[in-house]
Amino acid sequence: MTRLHVQLAAAAALACLALAPVVLSPFSITLMNYIGIYSLVAIGLALLTGVGGIVSFGQAAFVGIAAYATAWVSTLNGQSPWLGLLFGVVLTCGVAAILGVVTLRLQGHFLSLSTVAWGLAIGFLFGNVDGLGRFNGISSIPPISLGSFALVSSAQIYYLIWGIVALVLLLGYNLLDSRLGRAMRALRGGNTLVESLGINAFRIKLVTFVIAAFLASLSGWLYAHMSRFISPGPFDASMGIEYLMMTMVGGAGSLLGGVVGAAIVTLLKNSVQDYLPLIAKGASGQLEIVAFSALFILFLQWARRGIVPSIARYLPKIRRERPKPALPLPRRPQPTPGELLLKVDGAERRFGGLVAVNNVSFEVRSGEILAVIGPNGAGKSTMFNCLTGALRVSKGDIVFAGRSIVRDPQSRIAKAGVARTFQHVKLRPRMSLLENVMLGTYSRTSSGLFAGAFRLNRREEASARHEALMQLERVGLGDKPFELAGNLPLGNQRILEIARALAADPALLVLDEPAAGLRRQEKLRLAELLRSLRADHLTILIVEHDMEFVMSLVDRIVVLDFGSKLCEGVPSAIRSDERVQEAYLGGVA
């Protein structure tokens, strides 16, 4: 399957949608309109929940804000619905931005619970504010007009709704395949990973959150002017759950899944309404929600992945061409070999009464490989975390390239030119090798939301893609750039992490136990790769356990024991040092 096939399939789908009003009955068109309107919310949720990993129970509240805003502008104040759209979008995105700033730093289920909280609070507001019709709602909302042509019938507004859905899907897929989109897709890998790539995780979450709210506001606007009547009911907490249900049924990671999920849930609900009274007379209203929730629970128990990803597995893969050569990305000024690059000066880190790192000082000069070694519990990992900004030092200073970094967040240190790998590999298993390495180019590129959505970033994307391929070739993984990272064996995953770090054009490469869990052949390959990088004048700091691996590779060694520096020197001197032997072997053998 090539790109052309995908485009043909999309064109065929569009043609079917365009012909639908000619073929289908008015009732079916109304149903289609609802599907389209719900799809918008579900697409936003797919971005937020499936891609970004933020489960929100409160999207219905955003739909409600926009619907009430446009009803207030167009019905109660007699202005144009288009002004209502503007007001609704601005208000919704504003509320979302405020809520996002306040809540998006929350972790895990705390964040989701906060969406329940504001979802409920906003939902209660609609029915209780004077001037918004309370529980009676607002009726006789005017239809949307294009010039003097009013979109009154369901077939007329149909084209507007599905036009917006198609456009949103196109822009959404463009966005996911851009610099910002890749950052969004990295969010589920955890904050440490995202920040280590020079990405401000909070900002990306906020952008994703506001985009989802924006889509919900479009949906609310269309809803108000299509049904011409609004009341608090369709924006309450149960509708928030229903949107989440649509997203998960369709397949949370997939934008198209939003549309499919909205269609399935809406049609299912409709048929439940049709058929339940036949089975149980007089109990339809009650049973509807029961049947519905039960189906959802069954779905979550048996098919968590969702429909679209399950089907997509059986489709032929899209064949893609190898990236062509492009203009190189700008490089940072590299330090001259031998120059002082990193200076750790009296660093100390305490956890309560425990001193994990105690008054440690050492220097890294440009162009060398330095290893920090020590037995278990020596404070290596703590030292590493202080260097990369994952932990703050309690005392002392760390200076990188002439600037103190002890107060900097991780992403800032990464941007300054410190690229890292992880002891427990942190890759995005469902992204290709190429995309994983492209994540590394984030801080060297600049295109944003609009450039990504409207594909104004082609030149930069080509450069980033080419850079990523070059780094893959440099580490020896250039033969299958479109393989999924999760399919690689562990040794190659570590090497892929190094390629990702190299794509950031670092001044200092920091490796956290790179040999851990590798087989002998893999270790030898890794050592060879690191030597070739040194030959390219790259500075490398290794925190490592494996003595044999370190001794044959590095220029100098710093030994830590019980949080303090034991000694420092060239490998041969360290090997014969009695204190080191005692620390490792418990006495001179």
Binding site: V102, H109, V116, L120, A121, S238, I297, R304
Partner: protein, 347 residues
Amino acid sequence: MTSDIAAILGIDGIATGAVYALVAIGTVLIFTVTRVIFIPFGDIAAFTALTLAALDAKRFPGTGALVVVLACLATLIEIISLIRSGDIRLLPRALLFYLAIPLAVVGIAWLVMRMEPPLAVRLVLALMLITPIAPLLDRIVFRPIADGTVLLLLTVSVALHFALVGLGLLFFGPEGVRTEPLTSFSTEFAGVLISGQTMLIVIAALVFSGLLYLFFDFTLVGKSLRATAVNRTGSRLMGIRPARAGTIAYLLGSLMAGVSGILIAPVNTVFYDSGFLIGLKAFVGAIVGGMTSYPGAAIGAVGVGILESFASFQSSALKDVIVFSLLIPILIWRSLASLHSEEEIEE
């Protein structure tokens, strides 16, 4: 606002809060043992009130039918899973626990009810009928996904709540109920009238939290529950079955929720869907305790009760808006206070 009004509102708030506290403690109990944030506890409380009202009116409550339906479903699922795993010799045990005992409970309740028993017996019957529901739901809904993420369990739990609301309407009908007061005693304290019901609520809350404390600290079963809460794998290695610990937690939790339902029924009119707000407000309290601390949850729940009481005096329409808006700063505080390692989200 005068100090008199403040005192009345305060007492009212403490009484409401004590009811929430019972549910909150149940919520924490379930969460620590099973990692499920069991939103439907409020529904269990509301169903208890509806059950009691039906018993008072000499009607057999819908709870009986609900228990029978759930018991049959749970038995069916248990049998299928036993056959699949080849443990057919466990079949009699499964039939006893999932079918015989729940049906026996319903049968006893039905027989006793025909004798027109006094109030105390009716209270016991209501509690008996309500306690099997949560453990059966656990078997049907949560056991198959017990190893899922907290987020998945939460999503399922919210869906389950909506299913229960639908079932509530089906089995209890749309009418609201208010049961007769458990006591007509009242006293005056520092110039403020305190009803016996209020005192009963607070005393019951204290007694039941005290009993739970004794259970956890002085019985082996209680200790095994605590062990499961701390480390599932570790306690499994010690011979504790997490599934069994979960069932006990659900039983205890629904008992607490049931008591709170009985206490609230004479004070507020309870509808089939009143549970959601009770559950969520209790839950706000549980979050104050970080979902792990029982005293924290109780204090938090009483705080929510007092806040609600004062908020409804200021603006009765917006009281729920105020209570839930307040959850956000509490969540932020809790999230900052708890240092937990970051978990990667399931792909």
